[in-house]
């Protein structure tokens, strides 16, 4: 009985949180339209999110690309198909690994920052002060962050893709002894509309996921510094898990829509 009660409480809490997240997300979407538009805040956030995450993304891309190339080249060698390394790298990185790794890394770094910043502002009454001065905090704080994520997550994903494929190329020529021409021809072969489309739809979706969850958690943080800490942890955890779930859903949906172009 106690277990059922715990389960019911958890389900009720989950439903309530989901409902509130939905309404908050709708408000965020609405805040993207109309005036005022906070241009300088948006550029500042684009810099913080984009340039601030660049080193992390480059490091992630090169490590993942080289690791994958090593694994694949060993397996492909068994079948005498090492020349296909570029094809597999292009598909795996552009369709899957680039977007997911970028999404999770940005979620870890940026979602934590957004939730902590907005949560701290809430706990010190700064959000109420904004409302008292006739300023909509969602338009002022959440909208610039969402716009910045929508622009910068796809850009970072492209950078991650390129770096990872270059990392694979380094393994191809120095360890697997595949010629550059063979590798890049194979990569180019898989750079078709379908793969690029799926690789760009995903980061766009992840940007919304990170923006909605991190801002919602910041705005709903309660309980002082401890509450802000808890909200920040939850924000990163929920955003990362949602990205992984969204990855499967988007893959399935886009596959069914553009199967002929893949």
């Amino acid at each position: 009985m106690k277990l059922i009660k715990i389960l019911m409480d958890w389900l009720r809490h989950f439903a309530s949180e989901s409902q509130q997240l939905f309404f908050f997300s709708a408000k965020m979407i609405a805040s993207l339209f109309g005036k005022p538009i906070y241009v300088s805040e948006t550029f500042e956030q684009m810099y913080l999110i984009g340039v601030g995450s660049l080193f992390l993304i480059v490091l992630t891309g090169i490590s993942a690309g080289q690791g994958m190339a090593l694994q694949f080249s060993n397996e492909l060698a068994d079948f005498g198909s090492k020349n296909y390394l570029g094809r597999i790298m292009a598909i795996a990185i552009i369709r899957e690994l680039g977007p997911v790794l970028t999404g999770v890394m940005v979620a870890a770094r940026v979602a934590a920052g957004i939730t902590a910043e907005i949560g701290a502002m809430k706990s010190s009454d700064q959000l109420d002060a904004m409302v008292a001065f006739g300023i909509d905090p969602i338009r002022k704080l959440a909208a610039p962050r969402l716009i910045s994520l929508i622009i910068m997550v796809p850009v970072l994903t492209i950078i991650c893709d390129v770096i990872a494929i270059v990392g694979g190329w380094l393994i191809a020529i120095f360890i697997s002894h595949i010629t550059s021409l063979t590798y890049w021809t194979a990569v180019k072969d898989r750079l078709n509309f379908g793969n690029i489309f799926i690789g760009l739809v995903k980061p766009f979706v992840y940007a919304f996921v990170i923006g909605f969850i991190s801002c919602y958690k910041g705005f709903s943080a309660e309980g002082g510094t401890k509450g802000v800490g808890r909200a920040t942890t939850e924000s990163v955890m929920i955003a990362s898990i949602t990205i992984l779930i969204a990855n499967f859903v988007v893959t399935k949906v886009v596959f069914s829509l553009i199967r002929g172009y893949l």
Partner: protein
């Protein structure tokens, strides 16, 4: 003027205010006293409609703000200045940007004009221009509170000022400065002031009339002589540690 009519408010299942009613005429200062957690700060949040009551009416200059639309609320808030507990200064902005925040956001004034107004306001609240480029964290608690008052005044030229624990945590000298500033604003600018505090000694310095809240209920609404005669055991209990302060007010009245 501000009027509460049978206002009930709760956070979730926890009742905070129960059938609260009071009336504050324009240009008058009123102190709301009560123990921590009695619902004092909630009253200020309700006046600004940062929260909405479940029952009852709140009237600002005769207008029921509980039914006001967003556009109407913006106009009402322009008449209200709020000094939050701990100041609630924007910690990523400088003192100058904090004080001039409303003008920077809402007016078409040029930056040098705003800077002049900010300097003028800093002088009014007794602060030096030298701190204009400092961050709030670099100021003392009293200075932060005065910057917050300056921000509230410069933002909207308010007819109503709300102070949430304006002297809590300050040393006696800073407390005197803030008390003097509140009195000067009430007298010179003729603003209606509500001061929420549990610092009883300061309460007697800034207003002649008081409301005492206990567990979300108003248990007293009157002046110092009525407060002296109050026989409600909850009021007696609440004022017991402050007998000396009340006695001093008696002496002052007598002189």
């Amino acid at each position: 003027m501000i009027e509460f009519r049978n206002v009930c408010f709760s956070y979730g299942d926890k009742p905070v205010l129960k059938n609260l009613s009071f009336f504050i005429p324009a240009g008058e200062a009123r102190v709301i006293m009560g123990q921590s957690g009695s619902g004092k700060s909630t009253i200020l949040r309700l006046i600004l409609r940062l929260a909405s009551p479940q029952e009852g009416e709140i009237l600002i200059d005769g207008q029921n703000i509980c039914r006001a639309k967003d556009s109407e609320l913006r106009e009402i808030r322009k008449r209200i200045g709020m000094v939050f507990q701990e100041g609630a200064l924007f910690d990523s902005l400088t003192v100058g940007e904090n004080v001039g925040y409303y003008l920077l956001e809402h007016s078409r004034m040029k930056f040098p004009e705003i800077a002049d107004k900010v300097k003028e306001m800093l002088g009014f609240v007794g602060l030096s221009e030298d701190i204009i480029d400092r961050l709030p964290d670099e100021l003392s608690g009293g200075m932060q509170r005065r910057v917050a008052i300056g921000r509230a005044l410069l933002s909207t030229d308010p007819k109503i000022m709300l102070y949430d624990e304006p002297t809590t945590g300050l040393d006696p000298k800073m407390t005197t400065n803030i008390v003097n500033l509140i009195n000067r604003l009430t007298e010179v600018k003729n603003v209606t002031s509500i001061i929420v505090t549990h610092q009883i000694a300061d309460a007697f310095e800034v207003a002649e009339k008081f409301i005492v809240i206990d567990s979300g209920e108003s248990i007293f609404d009157g002046d110092i002589s009525q407060l002296r005669q109050a026989s409600d055991p909850r009021i007696v209990e609440f004022l017991k540690p402050f007998r000396d302060s009340i006695a001093n007010v008696q002496k002052k009245d007598f002189i």
